[in-house]
């Protein structure tokens, strides 16, 4: 394996006042993945992280002279450096792992985007103030609306625009049910931690610890005790050392307060 530079860094938006649910989940998933690979990164928060990223999405990592964004490409990049979590799996297990990762992207990530950009109350109370927070008026409004328009067009194209919040929550429940059944009583989805565990942890932990307008979303996850136990276990194992409270400071106490109105 190639050596991993000491100054490797992961960029995301400001934790307390800016980052949104979906970006926080994606960032946490990448952090968990790198922790599982035992590759340390420094988390750097920048208000313009979204614009610094080569794909326009957070998080991205800066390693040596390379910049890579999002979990999928980062997994590939790290693999090329000689670190992999899924090498021990057989072909059928690899197919299964990829299928479940698509399930999380297809349902949980889309539901998070729906909630933060298509649910009118959430948009007004949480998303616009947070998304526009680094910028002065009227730029804050313009950028928020631009982003909202972009996400809504995407929702329309995939047929989610006509869904009600209830239907979306129902989808989340279905997804959590499937993950819960698949996990069963095992500590991880396969014999040892893989990128699937990192991805599931990133999303579920963020959903569980982020205060939104209502608790409906986190209640869906809380119904599955093995999933909450799974989150707690990974948190303790991979983020326990740094701070007593939680992974990265992006998590519960600070975040809850900042999102409470």
């Amino acid at each position: 394996a190639e050596p991993w530079p000491e100054n490797a860094a992961l960029y995301q938006q400001l934790k307390d006042e800016q980052i949104l649910l979906s970006d926080n989940a994606s960032s946490l998933a990448v952090q968990a993945f790198l922790q599982m690979c035992n590759l340390p990164v420094r988390v750097i928060c920048r208000a313009n992280a979204e614009y610094m990223s080569p794909s326009g999405k957070v998080p991205f990592i800066h390693v040596g002279n390379q910049v890579v964004s999002e979990l999928g490409p980062i997994v590939q990049f790290v693999k090329a450096k000689g670190h992999s979590l899924s090498d021990g799996l057989d072909e059928v297990q690899k197919a299964e792992m990829k299928a479940y990762m698509e399930l999380v992207n297809n349902m949980l990530l889309t539901a998070e985007l729906y909630l933060q950009w298509c649910d009118d109350v959430t948009v007004e109370e949480i998303t616009h103030p947070r998304y526009g927070s680094p910028y002065p008026w009227p730029l804050n409004r313009i950028l928020s609306y631009q982003k909202q328009w972009e996400v809504r067009r995407k929702m329309k194209a995939i047929g989610w625009a006509g869904k009600t919040l209830e239907q979306v929550l129902e989808d989340v429940d279905q997804c959590c049910h499937a993950l819960s059944q698949r996990l069963g009583t095992q500590p991880y989805f396969f014999n040892k931690p893989t990128e699937l565990d990192a991805l599931v942890f990133g999303h579920l932990f963020t959903i569980l610890t982020t205060q939104l307008i209502t608790d409906e979303l986190s209640e869906k996850v809380k119904n599955y005790s093995n999933l909450t136990a799974f989150c707690r276990r990974i948190e303790q194992q991979y983020f326990g050392g740094q701070e007593k409270e939680s992974p990265t400071t992006a998590a519960p106490p600070a975040k809850k307060k900042s999102l409470l109105r």
Binding site: S55, K94, K98, R182
Partner: protein
């Protein structure tokens, strides 16, 4: 209850197209009685929302909803699956939608040669004039829109780069499905289930429709177990002889 009526496209030596095919396969697997009404010279399809199921006074579109409806009527192809297998079904359907669907849409609606010489004339001939002048173009634009919005964006700036990426994803998806199926007859053993209906719905059009440009078909034909899977379902459940149809 009277047999529900399913309206769908009939096509290319296949009993139907992509989504309709999923529903029809599921109905065959679960033994649900369906009266199938194929669309011809239709005024009813300006939105292209096929298939549509009409049962007494309920009208349902979208395959997932139709399958749920059939399940509630006690036509369940998944009785014998364990909870974990039910979860796997959901995961693999997500894989199909994320990785295979964009390339399937592209092959039918965007690849210019395919669209002009096969898809457009075929659809135009099934839809009443003057809608036939408008609807195929609309469906093509919607497909392009979906692909660009979901798979485009930096760092993939040109359509060519996006195309390369979606075909890479689709081929990887076919390989994963082939590995998952292995040598068994269906995805969960000897009896077909929901997952088989979905996989069949995606694969059969790729496998059977004769297009001028056939990237995906060529790749699929290198995976003998998936071809065998399609042939089996076509012969056993749709009583079609295995021949290349147009």
């Amino acid at each position: 209850m009277a047999a529900p009526l399913l309206s769908c496209w009939e096509s290319w030596g296949l009993p139907s197209l992509h989504e309709s095919l999923t529903v029809m396969a599921y109905a065959k697997f679960s033994g649900a009685p369906l009266t199938v009404n194929t669309i011809n010279n239709s005024w009813r399809a300006p939105k292209g929302d096929m298939p549509v199921l009409v049962s007494e006074d309920t009208v349902i579109s979208q395959p997932a909803k139709i399958l749920n409806f059939l399940r509630k009527q006690k036509y369940n192809a998944d009785y014998e699956l364990s909870a974990k297998q039910g979860a796997d079904t959901l995961a693999y359907i997500a894989l199909l939608e994320e990785k295979l669907l964009p390339a399937l849409l592209h092959t039918f609606w965007i690849e210019a040669e395919n669209y002009c010489s096969v898809t457009k004339p075929w659809f135009a001939s099934r839809i009443a004039f003057p809608l036939s002048l408008y609807v195929p173009g609309k469906m093509s634009r919607e497909a392009l829109n979906r692909i660009l919005l979901t798979k485009g964006g930096p760092p993939l700036y040109s359509l060519t780069e996006v195309e390369a990426q979606i075909y890479r994803d689709a081929k990887e998806c076919l390989n994963l499905l082939s590995k998952r199926l292995g040598t068994s007859q269906f995805f969960f053993g000897d009896t077909p289930t929901t997952l088989d209906a979905f996989v069949f719905g995606f694969l059969a059009p790729i496998y059977k429709v004769c297009f001028p440009r056939v990237q995906l078909q060529e790749h699929l034909k290198q995976l003998p177990n998936l071809c065998r899977f399609c042939d089996d379902i076509l012969t056993c459940y749709f009583r079609l002889t295995v021949s290349d149809g147009r």
